[in-house]
């Protein structure tokens, strides 16, 4: 089973853990996942932490999933519009699929994403869950 390498995981810790995005200093566009160059052509970007609340835009329920997620079937994956308008895709947890609906209030949570076998690294990151429970 191939996992993201330890160095790549380590480099991505700010955006996996705290939703650190990149904002263009020239035009203000925000990118998540972070990018090196803005659409406007500028390479002057700064780090910005995204808000941890938003609304569910759309979601889907996956019954055929990748090897690392086999034990979590069915997997809910959704698109969440954060309170500053930035849209982020991610796994939705602590929710019952039939009770979810677009517009539901969501919050960012910190969860285990991949554990590299019994002896390897546990990789943590962001997921979403409904606020107040569904």
């Amino acid at each position: 089973m191939r996992h993201e390498s330890v160095p790549i995981y380590w480099r991505n810790i700010p955006h996996y853990y705290r939703l650190v995005a990149r904002r263009c200093k020239r035009c203000g566009a925000v990118y998540f996942p972070p990018v090196a160059k803005c659409r406007c052509g500028s390479t002057e970007l700064e780090n910005v932490e995204l808000p941890r609340e938003g609304r569910l835009v759309e979601y889907t329920v996956l019954h055929q999933v990748g090897t690392d997620f086999l034990k979590q079937k069915p997997l809910i994956v959704g698109l969440v519009e954060l309170s500053n308008g930035v849209r982020v895709a991610g796994q939705i947890v602590d929710a019952q699929p039939d009770k979810l609906a677009p517009g539901a209030k969501m919050e960012v949570v910190f969860r285990r994403v991949i554990a590299d076998g019994k002896h390897g690294l546990v990789m943590y990151g962001y997921k979403f869950r409904p606020v107040g429970g569904i």
Binding site: I13, P14, Y17, R18, E49, R52, K71, Q72, V93, D94, Q96, V109, F110, R111, R112, V113, A115, G117, K118, V122, Y124, K127, G132, G133
Partner: protein, 350 residues
């Protein structure tokens, strides 16, 4: 700038619950008897993708949100747990990056059974009071272990509680603290062993009661308190009976300990147990209330703390951070098979 104390608190209880009767059904126990013995109706269960790290991060984030401070002003972070996902690799360093603390921070994981989180509180108080850190944080976090079919399984549960200590913006000022520690083999887990061992008749008198009562009495004698001085008293809660009996041994009336009891609804969250009860009390406390907090850890030891609630408490209670009471109500029940899966107790090829 006031004296050192608790600036903010945050708690996290996973959403999943298993009823005591469901566990008893699997292992052939009489559920009514079990509930009567432990006074635990149901317990919290971590999700499949949760562990002591994720629980600590959620509790700590809530404490920071409630405090409204820049996390880079926190100069010390301690995690107290007996459920480390790694034998070697700290939770506290993950907290540093997950919470956005600066890299100039004292950080370590502490182990003293269920007392480690409160020992982190002592360390944070020391650093802040001496002026070596502006704020310090401690998190008690656990996904507690109990062997399936063994009595601990009826209470061992999951949760976390975080406290931020400072001198600026104090919501509960520290008045006194006192410790009581001895080598008492009441409960232990050897290196590599998945479940703890405990002496059935040994956990009460020589361990829990001796140390809880020893710390509480020692504190009262040394600093001149009497039970009537306290508005609330919060003890470590391995089950629903022990804190009630400890209160009776100290002549503390039931109404003073009831608001801080959470074990009946979520079980024993180990390092978060007493701190969660403390958080529940802080959620509704009034200025001037005096709180006696006495966590306990097997092995064994207790720390006793006295806090006086300040006028800032109302501000901290209005931050929109979920209260312990709200989390106690927000739950999804699971059956025993789901529970085993979530607790990662089904053996898989990895």
């Amino acid at each position: 700038m006031s004296r050192v104390g608790v600036v903010s608190w945050g708690a996290y209880i996973p959403k999943y619950r298993i009823r005591t009767e469901e566990v008893a059904r699997i292992w052939g126990d009489d559920p009514l008897r079990i509930v009567d013995v432990y006074l635990v109706d149901e317990k919290s269960v971590e999700g499949l993708d949760e562990d002591a790290v994720t629980i600590a991060v959620e509790a700590a984030r809530r404490a920071i949100r409630r405090a409204g401070i820049d996390p880079r002003r926190i100069g010390a972070v301690y995690a107290g747990t007996e459920s480390k996902p790694y034998a070697v690799k700290p939770i506290s360093s993950i907290l540093v990056d997950a919470l956005g603390l600066s890299n100039n921070v004292f950080a370590v994981d502490m182990e003293f059974a269920c007392k480690a989180g409160s020992e982190g509180l002592v360390a944070a108080i020391g650093l802040v009071d001496s002026g070596r850190a502006e704020y310090g944080m401690t998190v008690g976090t656990d996904t507690s272990q109990g062997e399936p079919g063994e009595h601990l399984e009826y209470s061992a549960s999951s949760g976390g509680a975080a406290l931020i200590v400072g001198k600026d913006g104090v919501a509960a000022e520290l008045e006194a603290m006192y410790s009581f520690v001895s080598d008492t083999p009441d409960f232990w887990r050897r290196e590599g062993s998945p479940y703890p061992m405990h002496g059935e008749g040994f956990t009460g008198e020589p361990a829990y009661f001796r140390h809880i009562v020893g710390a509480a009495k020692g504190l009262m004698e040394k600093y001149g308190y009497k039970p009537s001085d306290f508005t609330y008293v919060v003890f470590h809660q391995p089950n629903g009976r022990f804190p009630v009996r400890a209160a009776s041994m100290l002549n503390i009336p039931m109404e003073k300990i009831k608001p801080g009891i959470v074990v009946t609804h979520i079980g024993n969250t180990y390092n978060a147990s007493a701190l969660m009860g403390f958080a529940r009390v802080l959620d509704t406390a009034k200025p001037g209330d005096k709180i006696l907090l006495v966590p306990f850890g097997s092995g064994a030891g207790s720390n006793a703390f006295v806090f006086t609630v300040t006028d800032l408490i109302a501000e901290r209670q209005k931050t929109g951070v979920p209260t312990v009471e709200e989390m106690l109500r927000d739950k999804i029940y699971v059956d025993y098979a789901q529970y085993l899966k979530m607790r990662k107790m089904i053996k898989l090829f990895e």
